[in-house]
Symmetry: C5
Subunit: 264 residues, 5 copies
Amino acid sequence: MLPIDDSPIVRDGKSLILAMDHGLEHGPTDFEEVPEKLDPSTVFDTATHDAVTAMAVQKGIAEGYYPSYGDDVNLLAKVNGTSNLWMGEYDSAVNWSVDYAAEIGADAVGFTLYGGSNHEVEMAEEFRDVQEAAREHDLPVVMWSYPRGQGLKNDTKPEVISYATRLGLELGADIAKVKYPGSPDAMEHACKSAGDMKVVMSGGSKTSDYEFLSTVEAAISAGAKGLAVGRNVWQREDPTRILDALEKVIFEEETADAALEATE
Amino acid sequence: MLPIDDSPIVRDGKSLILAMDHGLEHGPTDFEEVPEKLDPSTVFDTATHDAVTAMAVQKGIAEGYYPSYGDDVNLLAKVNGTSNLWMGEYDSAVNWSVDYAAEIGADAVGFTLYGGSNHEVEMAEEFRDVQEAAREHDLPVVMWSYPRGQGLKNDTKPEVISYATRLGLELGADIAKVKYPGSPDAMEHACKSAGDMKVVMSGGSKTSDYEFLSTVEAAISAGAKGLAVGRNVWQREDPTRILDALEKVIFEEETADAALEATE
Amino acid sequence: MLPIDDSPIVRDGKSLILAMDHGLEHGPTDFEEVPEKLDPSTVFDTATHDAVTAMAVQKGIAEGYYPSYGDDVNLLAKVNGTSNLWMGEYDSAVNWSVDYAAEIGADAVGFTLYGGSNHEVEMAEEFRDVQEAAREHDLPVVMWSYPRGQGLKNDTKPEVISYATRLGLELGADIAKVKYPGSPDAMEHACKSAGDMKVVMSGGSKTSDYEFLSTVEAAISAGAKGLAVGRNVWQREDPTRILDALEKVIFEEETADAALEATE
Amino acid sequence: MLPIDDSPIVRDGKSLILAMDHGLEHGPTDFEEVPEKLDPSTVFDTATHDAVTAMAVQKGIAEGYYPSYGDDVNLLAKVNGTSNLWMGEYDSAVNWSVDYAAEIGADAVGFTLYGGSNHEVEMAEEFRDVQEAAREHDLPVVMWSYPRGQGLKNDTKPEVISYATRLGLELGADIAKVKYPGSPDAMEHACKSAGDMKVVMSGGSKTSDYEFLSTVEAAISAGAKGLAVGRNVWQREDPTRILDALEKVIFEEETADAALEATE
Amino acid sequence: MLPIDDSPIVRDGKSLILAMDHGLEHGPTDFEEVPEKLDPSTVFDTATHDAVTAMAVQKGIAEGYYPSYGDDVNLLAKVNGTSNLWMGEYDSAVNWSVDYAAEIGADAVGFTLYGGSNHEVEMAEEFRDVQEAAREHDLPVVMWSYPRGQGLKNDTKPEVISYATRLGLELGADIAKVKYPGSPDAMEHACKSAGDMKVVMSGGSKTSDYEFLSTVEAAISAGAKGLAVGRNVWQREDPTRILDALEKVIFEEETADAALEATE
């Protein structure tokens, strides 16, 4: 972990990362209700919102669309990822070299670590290479820290999420993205387990405006330094309104209620 | 994905790729009815047709025959491939380095990804290396995106083909070659899932002139940007005539009927 | 093994290594009784004690906290390690390159070898690379020599511990950290098996002051050249007092009784 | 495949390769009847015969004996090979780098590919590296193309041998060495499947003079461009006589009968 | 195989290698009867005997002790080896790079090949790298050629030992160390199978003076070019006396009886 408050992906110590790698991880099915979002431009347009400090995409989408948004969007190069079509213990492919990500203009890199997978050792060594290459390019490193595998029945248990944030700290991430562990106390413990490293909450699958915002509010109060979100933004009819509200909850530390009211 | 409309393998935004790597993938059995085509010169001769924007072959055939056709044929270096003699989960060998393909004069590179294979992670990482090396040589990258593996019973289901084109877009291909998913609607969805990346239909095993051309017509109407075809051209008695017809369907967007009539 | 008596991590021929990589190896659970220690600064503060010749941490913690302690603490870069979340034969990930450890200011490197694991061959080859890279940077190498695996029922048996120290000597460590084999005679044999290479006792899980110090006393009398300890120091309410006592037992070769009395 | 008619290992478009790597592949048992041939000099002496265009040996034998025969023998560096002592699916070790083979004076390199083995993908990738390194040194590449593995019950079936020669062509060999497929027609098909690439017949285990020579005659008539032979030459009492006869059958295209008569 | 008669590890065409890597391969248990030999200096002292042409040790012991013996002992860097604590098919770790061995002053390198192990292919490829690196440093290569594995019930059968020496010759060793195959005839065949490459007998576990020396005598008469011995020298009360005797048997080709008498 290095100090990254001066990085473009951080605003007032916090980050709001808009992620759109679902086409790789889940396939086009995630776009079923919002087929127009299959066109990445639509999500890049959303990412120009002031609240968004970075947009996370895979290499091919960055190559094709980022050149048109370089002035308005910060690029988080998600360097690994895989489809859900195959079978076996959790693993992910490193699809993008850090050198090439930097060449395309990345402001940060992202990497999924399945701690607890029987491929954890191999993935951690891939993370080492990515992290150290990122250091050479002065790029912050965001770890999607998602423990899952043969031995893990429940991947949102408080002790699992606290272990997840700690893995980020120990292995050299600058931000760890984790699932909400179910309660403010558990989130607070997870943030404390990360020492001075920033923790951001993972947005997860789409929920109601209130449910979503109040979980974000709870996470921020518990010490989270932001949010990494995909479906809960771009699967909505009006992504701008939810981003307006998220801006208030995350950066202005307003309540979910106040944020919703203000953005009605 | 990068803009490739200025590439030699693209004509008016579309491509017609003549593939002849069947000797590796299926063995000489594919030439049983047309034994004279075992001589690669015969297929290279066919590839000099104006409709063909690139010919896809493996390294050994490129080394031996491309020097005589360099002025008349664009070379698509198919860099991986394997025989069907062995047993086990789908995989493919990288038989050709991109550097050497460029040295021989390749205008583009091709790579098969078996998304859904339990070797997908490894193949995706091999694709990364090929794709990034191709970028250094300014060569377009064509992905043979063929989901298949232990967990995939039906590899032409609409959602599988849409996932296949999306894999091409996310991972950095410039063109994805996929099987026809059975209906124009499904093909349209597959093309939309690819964003701005070009999708070409895979020719498949030999069918009648009309059946073949009308499927191509449907694919083009649905948004496909061309065709990659082998057996449906060079297994025919008169490859020139079917190429004449394909030229009309693909580049002039005529109907199968009109094209057949015009080339009788 | 090279002479390391002039190294900053050695004082009068002995070492006291304070280790804090438990967040990676065991997770936050090791901090349950001392939650304030989740903040690595607290343990770095402890490591400024004169008795501590080096502090062993993983990369991320070194990056984040060592810059503030560079003048007062010697850094032992623990370059491999893994979580306890996954299943299978013992193995560990190399999370840190020696080059980068040196860049951050490491005074030594540490590496866990699970001799007896069915991954021993692979781990020994990773050790080779780490050890030879450390030689290029003139950094002493500490081996956490912990035989364990499918074929080892009891990993503190005298012959196992003597084999563990010998592995350190044969493979090129400068210090081997091993568990106490249960008796002074066994410890003496383990030290003799190491030839001129230094052996330090592993602190293990927290025990009473007297039990802990008298085991250290026995180890030192038997020829051990120090201690590598984590929980038995920083899980205590007053780490300074136990370090005062350890200083007497290790460097002044006092008895546990005398050391306890003097530090009451 | 590149044109190699100007290579020293080719004479009038054909090759006669004397192979002596049986000590590695089969062990000393192949020398039981001719124990004096355990001394590689004896076989190198045989290789000085005008009919022999290259001698194929492993690295150690080339290092030790080739320096004395450099003026009279062309060296084919057989870069992979393995013993028959171990168990499991067919595979072979790459025992010799092409760079070092070139340094020793190799005129060509040889590589065994077990197409159809479950290790085919890995072996093909090793072949890629060897083939491309050979290109840098302008050395022809001979593939021992021997399909065998879990899924292949009969490795001399006509379709298997035709697939074997095609693998050589597609993957970039200049010569493929295959077993005789049992009939002139099958051999002719195998040669046609190879396009312009040369096919040489594998000599196999020792048979009678007539049986051996007439099979060679049939192969040459069917389009084979020579022979790669070991035991059928050096296990004979008079290797010179059989080479005299082979010279007539292969290079002068005489019948087996005529060749035998002429060399009586 | 290269000519190595001018190498410091050869005297009058023969070698006597004193090996002491048993602490790694077998653990301290091999020193149970001679605990003072746990100190490597004691064995290095023994190696200063004129009869010893090289001492074989692992990296750590070379680093720690060879600097004091550089004038009096020739160093054979044993670059692979492993403990006997783990389970599974035979394999060995490459613990030492040849570059670093050369830097420390090695006069030769040693490598164990378990021909017949299901890891043979991988080990042979590691041997390739070691052998070719040794060539760059002009260091002779000694192969501990020990066929063993799932398919080998008896690893001292004559045909196995002859295969073992042949593997050394074919793969590029300069000396192969093998077990005594039980009879002078079998040893003679093993030496003939090695062509001009030197074969040395492996000393094995401790036996009586007469039994040991007469086996060495038989091996030398059969064509062996020396001995590589550990326990049969340094487990003895008086290693000097047995070395005096070995010098007579090996270099002066005296009988065991005469040598024993002369050294009484």
